[in-house]
């Protein structure tokens, strides 16, 4: 038997070849695919960044411009304050460049070189104007300093209140490359990336040199980043210093160079580059930097200023001319030397620029902002514009806010509340354990221009950070006696539908009575249960007598009072119940402001506006809110009420106003609710109307009257609002005649009457009986 040779089983080797044949191609393919996808991704995001960039602009919110016209009351001190807020520089000599002003002592004048500004309907090219003031504090003449042309009005440009840019607040304008002055472009390229026009996104020579320098120095001394890389960093990446980030940056830079021209990249860079910090807002791009540091357009920059901006690119906050002028100056000179060495500038320019002072404009004060106003604005804008439009279209919203008065309002509210808590310790939150959830003592203030309905200042609460609830627009509180003038107007009005017609001198009974309605009973009582018997209508309002007011309301008819309230601006949900006559129906401070606006404007009901115009980046008015008026009561009727309310300030419940230091002619009414929970004061001068409310959001008792709690805040605000201007009396419309009458009998003053009032009557209604009692 022979056995067959059996071949040995083949030796099993590890199947490197097979595996590598099986694995490597797919792996390669996967890698390639991943790389391809990544590349495509980078390309796409780059494209969207470059193309979308121009659309990604925040909405800017401007305050109102400040009109100066012949005849305006102008307080020079407050004008100087306004100018410095807008970044104007005070100079001792004749102002020659835009953004400068000087104050001339004699003859009293202010000379201003206005900044250029594009208003929605015209362009201010930056004229030099001379504003002369008279001894009474009125503007007596305005003229153009260059052409000697006589003007009758100029405006200080509006200030940016804030920007709406998602979460970050940014403030910028995009420029075309052609618009940017060539020396500025060349300076930045020279300083930051000399071979920008030669490399492919990475500068290998520069990189190598940087590596050598850094190794020799043993630390990071020089960066080898190209402009493209810096742009990529600004676009996408965070500020961490890692190798991975550097690599990503490099890849992106190369991709960007492949897809976009040098010009596009440069334009992007000059608009994106971070050049400093303006409070919470970053300063990006050369336009913004020129505005921020020098208060001018880039094309107006001098060589020294150009060198400083170019030098700032490396470390804007380290070299900041605001905080470190010495470093900034040194850096500027280094840049100038570099420019001279590379032949960008000649010897003469170099020396001239070297001799220039830094001359930076002071940074605008970091304002507290006007959070409640802006909040209200956002809400209004959101009704018309979707969110992404507001954060990216670069709209300009021109509002009615007066930043100076807004400041005054905020200060008046916070100071006033602090003082109240000092004087009345039971009000402070700490000393109020009985009501732990009542929160802080709160206040609201709203100021409007009664003739146009423009809201010029709005403080919706004590501290926006702690409570965002806007008490001006959203709080519903009982107005108390602040409501009473509506009752008196209904009684005095010549067009009274009920046929009941009172005069300011009509005698009314101030005594307890019971008002029966719908089978129910209501008994109004006076504060402290003190009754005065027969009094004139004027006396009843000046001293805020409840019983007398209720009896007038009953006589006139409560539905007439209710209709009058709705006509003047109270929400139509108010019922016709007796209690409303004494302010028993809850309203918002803004509604009260509307009502008093009718008295203050001589009978015109206006629609309160905060937004004047929304303008697109192309300068088109996207939305315009125009003044709308409706004539509700006759000017003479309105004046009767104003005249009575003046009496409240002179003799009545608000007579403390003069003691608080406010002596201008004013009309107003205090308000205190029965339970002492709300304190109000609503009042106006000829030009400004303000309503103040003080109280707790819920629960706690205030225990103070309107004249103690609200009046001081109103006085403080109005003192700032009128400044040191000349007092102006209220205008008397046609159809009003004055008579001296006895204060208590309401009859024509006789020889013996010592206590007389100069009373206003509608023409033909003046009293004719002479007082015989005195």
């Amino acid at each position: 038997m022979s056995y067959e040779w059996e071949a040995p089983p083949p030796k099993r080797r590890f199947p490197f070849l097979t595996l590598s044949l099986l694995v490597i191609p797919p792996l390669l393919a996967a890698l390639l695919t991943a790389g391809w996808v990544y590349y495509g991704d980078v390309e796409r995001t780059l494209a969207s960044k470059f193309e979308g960039r121009r659309w990604d602009f925040p909405t800017k919110i401007y305050s109102d411009d400040y009109p100066i016209y012949v005849g305006a009351s102008l307080d020079r001190e407050s004008l100087v304050h306004r100018l410095s807020r807008l970044g104007y520089r005070r100079v001792p000599s004749f102002p020659t460049t835009r953004g400068e002003y000087r104050v001339v002592a004699f003859p009293p004048a202010v000379e201003i070189r206005l900044k250029a500004f594009q208003y929605p309907s015209y362009r201010e090219r930056g004229r030099g104007v001379r504003i002369e003031t008279s001894r009474e504090g009125l503007v007596s003449a305005i003229s153009d300093m260059d052409s000697n042309e006589v003007l009758f009005d100029v405006s200080l440009e509006p200030a940016v209140i804030t920007g709406l840019h998602g979460d970050i607040q940014e403030d910028r304008r995009e420029m075309q490359l052609a618009e940017i002055p060539v020396p500025l472009v060349r300076a930045i390229v020279t300083v930051e990336d000399r071979r920008f026009f030669e490399h492919f996104g990475l500068d290998l020579r520069g990189l190598a040199r940087a590596v050598v320098v850094n190794l020799r120095a043993g630390g990071v001394r020089q960066g080898g980043s190209t402009l493209t890389q810096q742009l990529m960093k600004n676009f996408f990446l965070t500020d961490d210093r890692t190798v991975v980030r550097k690599l990503k940056e490099a890849v992106m830079a190369v991709v960007a160079e492949k897809n976009f021209s040098k010009e596009e990249i440069l334009e992007s860079y000059l608009n994106e580059i971070y050049l400093g910090q303006k409070g919470p807002v970053g300063v990006h791009g050369v336009w913004e930097a020129a505005k921020f540091y020098f208060g001018c357009e880039p094309r107006e920059l001098g060589m020294g200023q150009i060198a400083l901006i170019a030098g700032l690119v490396r470390a804007p906050n380290y070299y900041s001319p605001h905080t470190h002028p010495d470093r900034a100056l040194e850096r500027r000179n280094v840049v100038l030397r570099a420019l001279l060495r590379t032949g960008e500038i000649d010897e003469r320019t170099y020396h001239a620029a070297l001799a220039e002072p830094l001359a930076v404009v002071a940074p605008p004060p970091a304002t507290q902002g006007s959070p409640y106003f802006v909040d209200n604005l956002r809400r209004e804008l959101a009704e018309t514009f979707p969110d992404e439009v507001l954060t990216s279209e670069g709209y300009s919203v021109f509002t009615t806010l007066d930043p100076e008065l807004q400041d005054a309002a905020e200060r008046a509210v916070s100071d006033g509340l602090k003082r109240l808590e000092q004087d009345f310790p039971h009000l402070s939150n700490a000393a109020n354990p009985a009501n732990p959830d009542s929160g802080d003592l709160q206040a609201a203030l709203v100021a409007i221009n009664p003739r146009t309905g423009a809201i010029i200042a709005m403080v919706g609460g004590r501290d926006y950070r702690r409570s965002q609830f806007n008490r001006v627009t959203d709080a519903r509180r009982q107005p108390g006696s602040v409501f009473k003038p509506i009752v008196y107007l209904a009684a005095l009005s010549s067009e009274a539908p009920g046929g009941v017609h009172y005069l300011p001198t009509t005698i009314v009974q101030d005594e307890p009575f019971v008002w029966e309605y719908d089978g129910k009973q209501w008994a109004p009582n006076n504060y402290d249960d003190e009754y005065f018997g027969p009094v004139t209508l004027r006396h009843a309002l000046e001293h805020s007598l409840n019983a007398a007011t209720a009896s007038i309301a009953r006589d006139v008819g409560i539905d007439v009072v209710r209709d009058m309230a709705v006509r003047l601006g109270i929400d139509a949900s108010i019922p016709a119940l007796p209690a409303i006559a004494l302010g028993g129906w809850e309203v918002s401070p803004l509604e009260i402001a509307r009502v008093y606006g009718v008295f203050a404007s001589g009978g015109l009901a206006t629609t309160p506006i905060t937004i004047q115009k929304v303008v697109s980046r192309e300068g088109l008015v996207v939305e315009g809110n125009r003044v709308a008026i409706r004539s509700e009561i006759s000017p003479a009727d309105a004046y009767l009420v104003t005249n009575l309310l003046e009496g409240v300030v002179q003799r009545g419940t608000a007579r403390g106003l003069a003691r608080l230091g406010f002596t201008h002619p004013a009309a107003g009414k205090t308000g205190t609710t029965n339970d002492y929970n709300d304190a109000w004061f609503a009042g106006y001068t000829r030009d400004v109307l303000a309503v103040v409310w003080v109280g707790f959001d819920r629960g706690a008792k205030l225990g103070l009257t309107g004249s103690t709690a609200a009046l001081p805040i109103w006085a403080e605000f109005m003192k700032r609002a009128v400044g040191a201007t000349a007092p102006r009396a209220f205008e008397v419309p046609d159809g009003i005649v004055f008579e001296d009458v006895d204060r208590f009998t309401g009859m024509l003053a006789g020889w013996g009457c010592r206590d007389t009032v100069r009373e206003a009557f509608l023409e033909g209604e003046e009293v004719s009986t002479r007082c015989r009692e005195h």
Partner: protein
């Protein structure tokens, strides 16, 4: 045979009748025929034109844009000639008499707005007029021109408020009042008695 004769006779009668008819029937010449044809054509064309016109009228009755365009011409339906005159007279008088500065500023701003309006810059004009009201609310001219602009735009709800106020404040110049009345008539809702409110 008999039947054949009947048919022949009928044919004969028919032919005779036809011939007689032709000879006695309404005969028109070629020229007359052409004329009639032409008349008929013209009638059709007229009817078509008529129909087109009513159609257009119907369309336009629904669409006010043509009418509003007409209002939006530089000079609206009511030309404020007298008002312009009275305004410039008021300015010279205020300058001469030394009227309150705010009143003068109101008048000058209104005049500037008038110029802006003539240049077609309505936005600027409205800005100036609103400012004029804020400067001095007791002078009526800015209200008048605001009412004028809004009437031209067809925004009657807004214009009526300004015109009412203008009526209160403007000087009692008869021709000016007439212009104001015509302007108000366009924007005022007319009540049952036909009176303008």
């Amino acid at each position: 045979m008999h039947r054949c004769g009947v048919v022949c006779a009928m044919l004969l009668i028919f032919a005779v009748a036809l011939g007689a008819g032709c000879a006695t029937g309404p005969y028109i010449s070629d020229a007359q025929y052409e004329q009639a044809k032409q008349a008929r054509r013209e009638q059709y064309a007229r009817e078509e034109r008529e129909e087109r016109r009513t159609k257009r009228e119907h369309r336009e009755a629904r669409d006010w844009s043509a009418w509003i365009d007409e209002q939006a011409r530089p000079e609206g339906p009511v030309v404020l000639q007298r008002a312009d005159l009275v305004l410039s007279a008021a300015i010279s008088r205020a300058e001469y008499e030394g009227a309150p500065a705010t009143q003068l500023t109101h008048l000058r701003m209104t005049a500037a707005a008038r110029n802006a309006l003539a240049e077609g810059n309505t936005e600027r004009a409205l800005d100036l007029l609103e400012r004029a009201i804020a400067v001095d609310g007791s002078e009526g001219f800015a209200y008048l021109y605001l009412g004028h602009v809004y009437t031209r735009r067809g925004d009657f709800e807004r214009s009526i408020g300004f015109l009412q106020q203008a009526r209160r404040l403007l000087p009692p110049d008869p021709a000016l009042r007439d212009e104001l009345r015509r302007l108000s008539a366009m924007s005022a809702p007319i009540d049952a008695s036909g009176m303008i409110r």
